[in-house]
């Protein structure tokens, strides 16, 4: 059965440099032989995350990155500290790895780094029902963590689409946002304390307290650091009781502007439904087939109300009043039920398998900018190719603006042309976002693929991050080349790599 055709065999030294024997011996002594993986096959499996560009390379028979030199699986914080000490002594570059569901290439090895798989450090340590907190190790699977809380009547209320494919540490490292964020906040609001191993192997402990005023937030240097400032090993998260009451509602709006106005008004009038979702016309059409109200009012809005029944009903009444004022109509709740049933699934697979180039881009815009942002970005993508697809929705809603979450799709075509158009689509979207005063990333992070635009958003702030990185990681050992920071000498150049 195995094909005789060799397609890009993995021979090149720069892509497959293995761990030096002295480094191997040092790491093996810490974690045991069974927790140090060095076969080419294991290294191949860790040479990707879910960056769509990387997937396109794999699909074309190429690698998105180098092979990691090895994979090490620490079973405790002490073992991790030992690994980082050895890395400093032997100049081993390391990349923290959770479940690999990131979509910006944050865990791609660019210079044969050693992957540190955190999934053995995976225990729920404590639920404190008085303080309403849970203490958990970073490598615990997100879905298993939430299930363990649910079993005791609680929830962390961080419910990203990737909940089952990600770790709790990964949520924080990538500064993620869940589907109930409009009510409960993003991961930076939910994590109240953490512990991390710094690049020099010292332990950082951010006390789990409700708030502090002890200078700039050290916690926030770690949340979104994507592994460049250290390994998050443990987190304390705010938890809440499972809601006593939940209900959904669906509205049809006549125009995108009226839908956006409704969303803005709801949050500015202090409504906080647990879920608020507005879809543009292409995304609405895909979810409302056969529902007559959408013939004349083609824009779909989905809401979910949770919590004490009286509060949820009051919010539902407020939302109804505001939607009606925008001339919307309530409809069959089929789109809400469908969303509930499929909320943790992945939609891209059938397209990627069929040879399309599908990607998602999420940005933050102000209410004033969002209508123009949508129109200009739609035009920018559709003008790339006659069969290009563009659609968007808004599901993280704030009094000042919202996240615009866009889906792009290019039809099957020759690989080089597809990669050129795909990068150009990103360039156009991020440029328009910057021009209109938005943020180039709402919750997927930077990884490597967004490096190109970080300077334009952060300005001198990027120099501050590099100075901090140089100070705590002078040998650039932890995840080099990510979050806009300097790559290792000779690192593989992938789109966005910072030199």
């Amino acid at each position: 059965m195995p094909s005789a055709t060799k397609k890009n065999p993995l021979q090149a030294q720069w892509r497959a440099e293995p761990l030096q024997p002295s480094a191997s011996a040092a790491l093996r002594a810490i974690v045991g032989a069974e927790n140090l993986l060095g076969s080419v096959a294991d290294r191949f499996a860790y040479a990707r995350d879910r960056l769509p560009w990387g997937l396109f390379q794999l699909r074309a028979g190429d690698l998105p990155a180098t092979l990691p030199a090895a994979i090490v699986l620490p079973g405790s914080r002490d073992e991790l500290i030992g690994i980082v000490e050895a890395a400093n002594r032997l100049r081993i570059r390391l990349i923290p790895f959770g479940a690999g569901s990131g979509v910006l290439g944050g865990t791609l090895p660019l210079s044969c780094e050693v992957m540190v798989d955190m999934k053995r450090i995976n225990r729920l340590l404590q639920i404190d029902k008085i303080d309403g907190t849970a203490r958990v190790q970073a490598g615990m699977n997100g879905g298993q963590f939430e299930a363990a809380l649910n079993a005791q009547g609680y929830s962390a209320n961080h419910l990203p689409q990737s909940i089952h494919m990600s770790t709790v540490g990964g949520w924080a490292a990538c500064r993620g946002a869940g589907q109930a964020s409009s009510r409960y906040g993003k991961i930076e609001d939910i994590v109240i304390g953490l512990e991390a191993v710094l690049p020099d192997a010292r332990l950082l402990h951010v006390r789990p307290v409700a708030r502090r005023a002890v200078g700039p937030s050290i916690k926030d240097l770690m949340i979104g650091s994507e592994g460049v400032f250290g390994f998050i090993t443990e987190l304390t998260l705010r938890i809440g009781r499972l809601p006593e009451y939940q209900a959904g509602a669906v509205y049809a709006f006549a125009s995108l502007q009226s839908g956006l106005d409704a969303m803005r008004t709801i949050v500015q009038r202090e409504g906080r439904p647990s879920v608020m979702r507005l879809y543009d016309e292409p995304e609405s059409r895909a979810r409302t087939e056969g529902i007559k109200q959408f013939t004349e009012r083609p824009i779909l809005g989905i809401f979910k109300f949770s919590g004490p029944k009286g509060l949820a009903l009051a919010e539902a009444a407020l939302v109804e009043e505001i939607c009606m004022a925008q001339n919307a109509v309530a409809t069959d709740d089929g789109p809400y039920r469908h969303w509930e049933e499929t909320r943790f699934q992945s939609y891209s697979i059938k397209w990627q398998t069929a040879g399309y180039c599908m990607d998602t881009v999420e940005v933050t815009g102000s209410w004033r900018a969002l209508p123009q942002m949508h129109a200009r970005m739609q035009q920018a993508v559709l003008s790339l190719h006659p069969e290009a697809h563009f659609s968007a929705h808004w599901s993280h809603i704030y009094p000042e603006g919202a996240c615009q979450y866009m889906t792009l799709r290019l039809p099957p075509m020759d690989h080089a042309n597809a990669m050129r158009l795909h990068r150009e689509a990103w360039r156009r979207l991020e440029s328009i976002c910057l021009e209109l005063g938005g943020s180039i990333a709402h919750h997927h992070g930077v990884g490597v693929f967004r490096n190109e635009w970080l300077r334009a958003e952060l300005g001198a702030g990027l120099d501050m991050l590099q100075i901090l990185k140089d100070g705590i990681d002078p040998h650039n050992l932890l995840n080099p080349g990510k979050v806009g920071l300097r790559a290792a000498p000779g690192a593989l150049q992938v789109p966005g790599t910072a030199r």
């Binding site: 060799k6 699909r59 494919m165």
Partner: protein, 93 residues
């Protein structure tokens, strides 16, 4: 394309929505044992990009996580059966 090959191609590009079906026990959460990674490895092997010396044949025998995922796949894929169908001759070496 054979159904088994199509199954592997679908799974290889999935972000492992079945992941919680694996126990939290340590060894089962090695990335290269997840169904998606196993599918990716199988495709690379069939394509000739990973040869016997890469350890891929041994890696593809570590089926615990793949078997645990059966019935938990969003798309109702049976990766264990697809791997058997595509790799059986190689497995007998």
């Amino acid at each position: 394309m054979s159904p088994a090959l199509e199954t592997l191609r679908t799974c290889a590009f999935c972000p492992n929505t079945c992941r919680p079906s694996h126990s939290a026990a340590a060894r089962l959460q090695i990335e290269s044992q997840t169904p998606s990674a196993m599918s990716l490895l199988a495709l690379a092997f069939l394509d000739g990009r990973l040869d016997d010396a890469s350890g891929v044949v041994q890696a593809l025998r570590r089926r615990e996580a793949v078997r645990e995922s059966l019935g938990h796949c969003t798309y109702n894929l049976d990766i264990d059966a697809a791997l058997d169908a595509m790799l059986e001759p190689a497995d007998k070496r």
